[in-house]
Symmetry: C2
Subunit: 209 residues, 2 copies
Amino acid sequence: MPYDYEKDGAAIYRQSFATIRAEADLGRFDVDEEQVVVRMIHAAGMVGLEEHVKLTPGAVAAARMALESGAPILCDARMVSEGVTRFRLPAENEVICTLHDPRVPEMAREMGNTRSAAALELWRPHLKGALVAIGNAPTALFHLLNMLEDPDCPRPAAIIGCPVGFVGARESKDALWADQPVPSIIVEGRLGGSAITVAAINAIASRKE
Amino acid sequence: MPYDYEKDGAAIYRQSFATIRAEADLGRFDVDEEQVVVRMIHAAGMVGLEEHVKLTPGAVAAARMALESGAPILCDARMVSEGVTRFRLPAENEVICTLHDPRVPEMAREMGNTRSAAALELWRPHLKGALVAIGNAPTALFHLLNMLEDPDCPRPAAIIGCPVGFVGARESKDALWADQPVPSIIVEGRLGGSAITVAAINAIASRKE
């Protein structure tokens, strides 16, 4: 007997988001934030993630305005850039990941840093007013913060800071939250990753559920 | 003052895996399984994930042997196929994701199913002996199980079944585990996703940590 299951993508989204809203503790978020956090929970398959999400007041609005005005999205990993749903973008925004640029391995050696961090040096021409999305590498987020210590470094419009893992993830996100060089969205602690980051981008790009 | 942080990729991996091995409950896994589960925990940033991982005895060996003999990896989503670390693959294995094939939207309409499920019909020529990795869509895993109910459908060597979410994820993985059409690796319940799936592939592809 073949399995019978829900095959309608729109119905799957509706049921998923209804379950999340029934189970998750979303009271402290405003309407814009709530839509972003619901989608992050959805990507993680994890009610309770909301406890770890922190957003600068106005961060969602700032990021959305940037996209509406045509800003690019700068991603630290291909799993992030590939996950962005292109038809949700309001201005056919460029989605840029420089990690596999052929110059990066040599730059990383010279810098004595990871390729993920070195790749951000290639963001400089795109950085002004961009939406930054770091969903993998703590070293990338630390390096971005160090770049932004230079007042001449162009400022992005907002930063989604969600690197994941056991070394530097918590510390780099704490540093972003303490510095607040621009409005930011983080997942505190070890949790994070490309799927959660992509979900935040996709929710910011369009209110459509 | 610029932030000081660990910038050596190899040291970051070493420290991460040491932390996971100190904290996670890995006693029930054999050596091959343990390496896979450690990498899955690493990708999720979540000690405790191991409680939800189930592996058919010999699944890791079967999947590894398939890759060593040149089998392709069939992925349900671009976030999975993009995450596979190519230099870890033992035989320059093909990594195939058919989701964005231009025929898929029309096939999905005809089938009355999601694009993720319809895309698997294009796997048939590649399916025999392949490593299947489903890290996103429950509908894809359900459709694969229905395809495999036909005894004439080619058998993959192993299935990594890790769709994520609130509608069908738990049910499709329970169905895979009950059916066991081929050796399988699953994350029970809602948890799963592309990063965890990619981590399993990368661990199977090479024992190198």
